[in-house]
């Protein structure tokens, strides 16, 4: 019988008879008694449960164990805080945190330790900004963060792990079909295999990073009979250039996409940096963000503004459609049962890129968008030749601003035309009020973001400075 097989802190583990939707955190804490990993929220938003996970990429990743389902761990290597000081002495990350007064109540601490350990393995503790990125998904309510940041900056920034991945990770990937009582969990390794299983089981839940589905499990007791996990299909994770376009596999994580897009599409990577925290970016996927159809997902408006085309597949049949047409209405997408997203393709922009994305939320890091404005306006001889403008948080779906685009197209690229386009947004959107923002604020921000884009293109930096005013 198939088992969920992985490595935990250097020990091989094979599990049978366990529900594949058991969270890794619950298994660690209540089955294994490894209580160093804490639960703070059970939704991937506080980082107290951060563990290190190594997948076929060979890199260590920070992962929230609370929304990682145990079936997803098959073929992975896991390290928890207990392993860092297994030989009796603290790891330098741990010593730095303890000696540098980086702990007060201590409850969030193991999560911070693991985030920093992973960042160090990836040579990513090179400066304050990088440290804050590494800690973007870890909440501390006691320290105010200063001692933690200082502890991190005092570490060797390049602690590259020379250790080769364990055999469980480096072995050629074999598909898994796991059963426990009435539940089935598939973890295929090829896109053809994936396509067949999805086509044969159209009612199954398709699972990628579990940064959303994990919450259905923890918050709404969701416990489906059939789950198909895409995370081990290497082909789905590719990011490649193709005929002047960029093809992003649906299974590419935010983290992988941000890395690849940094050079190829500089308008997109700053936005990806603001999606979730480091743990969510290491798990969540571009395809998942599109597939679930949320009106406040960050990738769809950005990819729509970038001219994205969606690649869908059903068994052996493939089709494409402009990304904006995928979103039919609230909770409704143009995806047939048995069909799945294989990739999204966007044209590579000429340099300098005209695409800019501005995300407004109550908090800079790890917050869900109130309004996202994505703009790509091409100008030749002071006249707008084309305008692609898309917003998130303004309607039941990610949506283009047709009236604003029309107002701009052909017009002279100046403040007056921007003003007209800002006014035209009233015809494009009737947003709603909720806990993230009022309708009035959303409308106002939508207008102001267009003006921000104009300023940005005119050389006024869009981001708030991090430094105090320089004194002469």
């Amino acid at each position: 019988m198939a088992a969920i097989a992985f490595q935990l802190n250097g020990q091989d583990v094979e599990l049978t008879g366990i529900s594949p939707t058991t969270t890794l955190l619950n298994w660690l804490r209540y089955d294994k008694g490894l209580t160093g990993t804490k639960e703070g929220c059970a939704e991937g938003d506080c980082g107290a449960c951060t563990i290190a996970l190594r997948d076929q990429s060979g890199d260590w990743l920070p992962v929230c164990a609370c929304i990682q389902l145990i079936g997803m761990v098959h073929g992975r290597e896991i390290r928890t805080v207990e392993a860092l000081s297994a030989e009796g002495s603290l790891h330098p990350v741990q010593s730095a945190m303890a000696d540098g007064h980086g702990t007060q109540c201590g409850f969030c601490t193991p999560g911070f330790v693991m985030s920093l350990w992973v960042a160090q393995q990836n040579d990513a503790l090179t400066g304050r900004e990088q440290v804050c990125d590494a800690l973007s998904g870890n909440l501390c309510r006691c320290t105010g963060y200063g001692p933690i940041i200082d502890a991190a900056l005092g570490l060797d920034p390049t602690g590259s792990n020379s250790e080769a991945p364990d055999a469980v990770v480096s072995a050629p990937a074999q598909p898994l079909h796991y059963r426990s009582e009435a539940q089935q969990f598939w973890s295929p390794t090829t896109t053809d295999g994936l396509a067949d299983i999805i086509a044969e089981n159209p009612e199954a839940t398709i699972l990628s990073g579990a940064t959303d589905i994990g919450l259905w499990v923890t918050k709404h007791a969701f416990n489906p009979d059939k789950i198909i996990y895409t995370g081990r299909v290497a082909y789905l994770r590719r990011i490649e250039r193709r005929d002047g376009n960029l093809l992003i596999g649906a299974g590419a994580t935010y983290r992988e996409a941000a890395e690849a897009l940094g050079e190829l599409h500089p308008g997109l990577s700053p936005l990806i940096r603001r999606i979730g925290g480091a743990q969510v970016r290491a798990a969540g996927t571009i395809g998942g963000n599109i597939a679930n159809g949320s009106p406040i997902g960050d990738m769809p408006p950005a990819l729509i503004a970038a001219g994205g085309v969606l690649h869908l597949r059903h068994g052996a049949r493939r089709r494409t459609l402009p990304l904006e047409e995928y979103f039919l209405g609230y909770g409704q997408q143009d995806r047939a049962p048995g069909e799945f997203i294989e990739a999204v393709e966007i044209p590579l922009q000429s340099t300098p890129s005209s695409l800019r994305c501005y995300k407004i939320a109550k908090r800079h890091d790890q917050d869900i968008t109130a309004v996202l404005g994505c703009f790509s306006v091409d100008v030749a001889d002071d006249a707008v030749t084309s305008a692609r403008i898309a917003y998130g948080g303004m309607a039941a779906t990610p949506k283009r601003a047709a009236a604003a685009e029309a107002a701009l197209t052909g017009a002279t690229w100046n403040r007056d035309s921007i003003g007209k386009a800002m006014a035209a947004l009233a015809d494009d959107f009737t947003p709603m009020s909720d806990h993230r923002a009022s309708a009035q604020y959303r409308s106002r921000i939508a207008r102001n973001l267009l003006l921000k884009y104009f300023h940005d293109r005119s050389g006024i930096a869009p981001d708030l400075p991090s430094e105090p005013l320089a004194m002469s």
């Binding site: 639960e39 703070g40 506080c46 805080v81 409850f107 601490t109 109550k362 908090r363 003006l451 708030l464």
Partner: protein
């Protein structure tokens, strides 16, 4: 004395924190027969329960026990001060009244949490929905109050206002705040012999928890033991709010004969338990052309929620801090305690003080804007007089004389170290031609009253044992929740006995070791418990001294406690050997210590007295930048000088200051509680409720302990309490945003709290831009 007290030692559990081996309530190995409890909550904010049928819940799979209002052997109440909080509101015989969305209806114990949660869904409950009172506005209109209005006053306010050269009035809305301790509420109960029960609770107030468990079970307090080793954060949110969970676990444990655990998930925790009070403050102030306040009237309105909980003392403390550092020659403060159909608000670091302080700081900022002055000039002209002054400008609105006001000196030092004046001028120049981003800077002071204003709570006990090998175990009533209390206490004990710190072990706080303790709250942990521990150590030293005098033929004057050894006459004995000898000499090596804060008294009827032993002071300068298109803001630099007296542990104190400041900045800038029109909290998890992250910390932070600090009162080693006061230093961040926005137009921005991007844009509109 050893230098151990006053040194910057790391937290005593730091090594365990980082290794993941520090044990919290949910980390103890679970007994095999543990039952898991799910608490079912109301969906409606205000309703009569017309039908409650739990029969399907009882017969559901794996269910071991169901408890509702009918199943409580003692009293169905977990109210800490008055009995107005039914623990379970649902009764199968009489229905019940629902007071807020999220109120506990009943509980289910099953062999797994999933089974308990699934079973709870099977309850048949009908609601006859009534119109809820949700907001301060609605409560004021409906005159829905938990208590009559309370008033503190001094001087002739009407005459002062009428005669003042200038007069202003205004209003500020101040949002609430979720404590967001990282460790949620947990309680595990173990049934014992007869009526005994032992409860492990994540709780700041074990003694009160013990009494409430006893009360609910209908048994004497001696049958209940409550134990707390450490909390994963408390911040006031576990002062009274853990009692329901503890009582629930104890009830299930006694009913099933098995250990029982309640562990709330984050959403339940945030919906079910209380938060910082939301306030609305109206003000009417008269002042002279220099900004000197002549008379002021405040009306403070607090959203207390459905029950009293600690709201009386919290609202009182808001009034006690309506003056902050400022002498108010004529002042009237009226407080309305609004009863609403929302969660019962409770303690949170500062305990009402922050809201009162935000009120007066707004007034100062408003006056400065009106007069075109730097708010700092208005602040300093209004400060209470320094110690040993004439006494003419030292009386508070509650008729206490401020004898220790060092804020002027702190301000002077901070203005210099932060280069305030030059930076403010540079910012104003920069703003005049910055198209989108504006900057702001503000200095605000803090004066925070130290003592429980409920006078009898200012007492503490300790129990110290010296074992015959010379090792020392100590216990006291304080709870460790990250504030470094145990570290400081161990330092105090080691210093008193002049032994190495590692000889001293602090054990879990337990109601059977030290009884009748007060909550670890009001910043009092080290002040009260440190003194009690010191008393016990002094007693033990006296016994050892007497023993040496009697056996070695020396006098007290011949005896000196040196590090880990004692000199008597020309000879020395190690501490270990002395302990052994004293044991053999039949000397009792266990002592209790007790402390009651002197000098304090308070007459609530006349609103006069000396509620505070002393005041803690500090000041902060914060610089921010604001995007005037989006309303986003960011702190770029903060400079803090804070008075902790003579620090017991500078590292711990600096940690409290920085942590408090960032927590306060979260409250005033980012964190927003949002209820829908049906009274349902929609920001009930970190996905929707945003506390600061590392990115939100200003890149430049210069935090200093004020070097001249020295408590004028005889506190433990002349230190000052530090838990709460620094939170209010963050008012400077809010006022810095106000400064930035004031550059947008001519009218006053009247920025409310929190200064979310949305509120910032509204404030820009108010400037007339």
């Amino acid at each position: 004395m050893s230098e151990v007290a006053g040194s910057a030692l790391p937290h005593d559990s730091a090594q365990k924190h980082v290794a993941g081996t520090a044990v919290y309530a949910d980390d103890m190995p679970e007994p095999r027969d543990l039952t898991h409890i799910y608490i079912a909550m109301s969906e409606q904010p205000r309703a009569r329960l017309t039908r409650v049928d739990l029969s399907a819940v009882r017969t559901a799979r794996d269910v071991l026990w169901v408890g509702c209002a009918d199943d409580i052997p003692g009293v169905n109440d977990t109210g800490p001060v008055v009995r107005d909080e039914p623990m379970f509101t649902a009764s199968e015989t009489s229905g019940g009244q629902v007071h807020y969305a999220g109120q506990a209806l009943f509980a289910v114990a099953a062999s797994s949490l999933a089974a308990a949660r699934a079973a709870a869904e099977l309850a048949d409950v009908d609601y006859a929905v009534e119109d809820p009172v949700l907001t301060i506005e609605q409560a004021m209109q409906a005159e829905s109050f938990l208590q009559p209005p309370y008033r503190m006053a001094r001087g002739d306010v009407d005459a002062g206002l009428a005669n003042a050269a200038r007069r202003l009035s205004g209003r500020i809305e101040i949002g609430g705040q979720e404590q967001f301790y990282l460790e949620g509420q947990v309680a595990v109960a173990f049934p014992g012999e007869d009526d005994e029960v032992r409860v492990i609770s994540s709780n700041q107030h074990p003694s009160e928890c013990q009494l409430i468990v006893a009360h609910v079970l209908g048994i004497p307090a001696h049958a209940v033991t409550v134990e707390v080793r450490r909390l994963g954060g408390g911040f006031g949110g576990k002062e009274t709010q853990g009692n329901l969970m503890a009582a629930c676990a104890a009830l299930a444990a006694k009913a099933t004969g098995r250990p029982a655990k309640v562990r709330l998930d984050r959403d339940q925790d945030m919906i079910l338990t209380g938060k910082r009070h939301e306030f609305r403050i109206d003000y009417d102030v008269g002042f002279d052309p220099d900004g000197r306040i002549l008379a002021i009237r405040f009306e403070q309105m607090a959203r207390c929620g459905w029950s009293l909980d600690l709201s009386s003392a919290i609202c009182d403390r808001a009034m006690f801090h309506a003056d902050n550092c400022y002498f108010l020659p004529a002042a009237e403060i009226i407080s309305h305690r609004c009863r609403t159909n929302t969660v019962s608000n409770t303690a949170f670091r500062g305990f009402g003080g922050p809201q009162g302080m935000v009120g007066i700081e707004r007034v100062i900022d408003h006056i400065a804007h009106d007069l075109g002055l730097d708010p700092l000039a208005v602040r300093t002209v209004n400060y209470y007089e320094a110690p040993d002054g004439t006494g003419e400008r030292a009386a508070t609105p509650y008729h206490m004389t401020v004898e220790d006001c060092v804020i002027d000196e702190i301000t002077t030092d901070l203005v210099a170290s932060s280069d305030y004046a030059r930076r403010r001028a540079a910012i104003e120049a920069w703003n005049s031609d910055s198209p989108v981003v504006r900057r702001g800077i503000a200095l605000t002071p803090v004066k925070f009253g130290i003592s429980f204003t409920t006078t009898h709570l200012n007492q503490a006990g300790a129990l110290v044992h010296i074992y015959q090998d010379g090792s020392i175990q100590l216990n006291h009533g304080g709870v460790e929740m990250g504030q470094g209390l145990q570290t400081k206490i161990a330092q105090i004990a080691a210093a008193e006995l002049n032994v190495d710190l590692d000889r001293v072990r602090i054990t879990a706080t337990r109601t059977d070791k030290v009884p009748n303790t007060s909550a670890t709250a009001a910043s009092s942990g080290a002040d009260l418990n440190g003194m009690a521990v010191r008393e016990a150590c002094v007693e033990l030293k006296a016994r050892l001294t007497r023993f040496l005098c009697e056996t070695e033929n020396v006098t007290e004057a011949d005896i000196t406690f040196l590090p880990n050894r004692i000199r008597f006459g020309a000879r020395e004995i190690s501490f270990d050997d002395l302990a052994k000898a004293a044991y053999l000499g039949r000397v009792p090596l266990s002592a209790t210590g007790f402390y009651a804060t002197p000098k304090i008294h308070w007459n609530r009827d006349s609103a006069r007295g000396r509620p505070f032993f002393y005041f803690a002071y500090g000041a902060a300068v914060t610089e921010v930048c604001v995007d005037t298109l989006t309303g986003e803001s960011r702190m770029t630099r903060a400079d803090i000088l804070h008075d902790v007296g003579r620090s017991l542990n500078p590292a711990v104190d600096l940690g409290q200051i920085e942590g408090g400041f960032i927590q306060g900045a979260g409250w005033l800038m980012i964190e927003e509680l949002w209820w829908d029109d049906h009274g349902r909290l929609k920001t009930h998890a970190p996905s929707t409720y945003k506390i600061p992250t590392a990115w939100d910390r200003p890149e430049v932070m210069n935090i200093g302990l004020w070097e001249k600090g020295m408590n004028r009162e005889l506190t433990i080693r002349r230190s000052k309490a530090v838990g709460e006061p620094p939170l209010m230093l963050a008012i400077s961040a809010h006022q810095a945003i106000s400064h930035a926005l004031a550059s947008m137009g001519s009218a006053y921005p009247a920025l409310d709290c929190p200064a979310t991007p949305e509120e910032v844009l509204r404030a820009i509109d108010r400037t007339g831009q």
